[in-house]
Symmetry: C2
Subunit: 190 residues, 2 copies
Amino acid sequence: MTGFPEVRVAYPAWVGDVVDWGRAYESPEDRMKLAIRLSRENVDRGTGGPFGAAVFERDGGRLVSVGMNLVVTHRNSTLHAEIVALMMAESRLGSYSLGAEGLPAHDVAASCDPCAMCLGALLWSGVSRVLCGAHREDAHILQFDEGPVFPESYRYLEKRGIEIQRGVLREEARAVLELYRDRDGVIYNG
Amino acid sequence: MTGFPEVRVAYPAWVGDVVDWGRAYESPEDRMKLAIRLSRENVDRGTGGPFGAAVFERDGGRLVSVGMNLVVTHRNSTLHAEIVALMMAESRLGSYSLGAEGLPAHDVAASCDPCAMCLGALLWSGVSRVLCGAHREDAHILQFDEGPVFPESYRYLEKRGIEIQRGVLREEARAVLELYRDRDGVIYNG
């Protein structure tokens, strides 16, 4: 091989128009609204699957990063919304742990229950709370598989001090999944 | 925020000296030897944790990509060896699935049982086989947590047609974990 591949992960251009970086996202619902907005824009703009996520400072709600599913556009099966949001937050903060000493506590809002990969990634990221929107069963109607996630998977994270709050604005989050289905969106890894 | 972060993932320079891209890696043991070599070089060169991985064409053993743990150097908690190898393989092939129509079947050798995140990522990647070296218990002696992986997690992948072969050159693989411990390597996400 003459040159090595290099992987670059960048936001789609619409992020600049859609995301208000200056405001505080106070409540879990405020945070979830942004995650859902990102999932919807990603479908509307044709840049990926119907999933969004965002990382916040847990106290005060400063927005640190956003994420959206970039699997198809980046030709990269690992770029689920949560992975993108975590990578971008860590890049911005210059830390491989969002729970590192000297940093405030962080949480993540994800527009759908995280898949097995993302649940693992959330554990390694050092976040202190995960807010989930649509349920995994809602993703199943789209034939998106969530992978090997079991009730004890959630308990595993909780035992390590991560708070998990599911079903935040579930109906609004699910509506985007249905929108994607109605538009015959690509079901990668179905 | 004035500019958005962009994440770049690149191999350490030593990959060029260590990896023979031209030869065929025929047997599971040949493939695992490369994964273990990558884990050992990563420790020796001080570029990350004691984990290596590589993606091959399953028939014939052409090497497609390699991976090594880049969490600390890249300040990115998602960059486990398997994730790096999968991203690089997909980037090289221009496909978000290594099992896409028109591509040959692929397998992955990982120097240690994949953590929860990587097991999920392997499912989404479209590989047809996973070869594992050291056992998760071997990683535990280092206090590396593997996350919510259960016996049914493996069965979940197997039901979806992924063959899993564990304990390939386990002793050699474990020796690198011990080397890392003896050098007081950083236990990130411990």
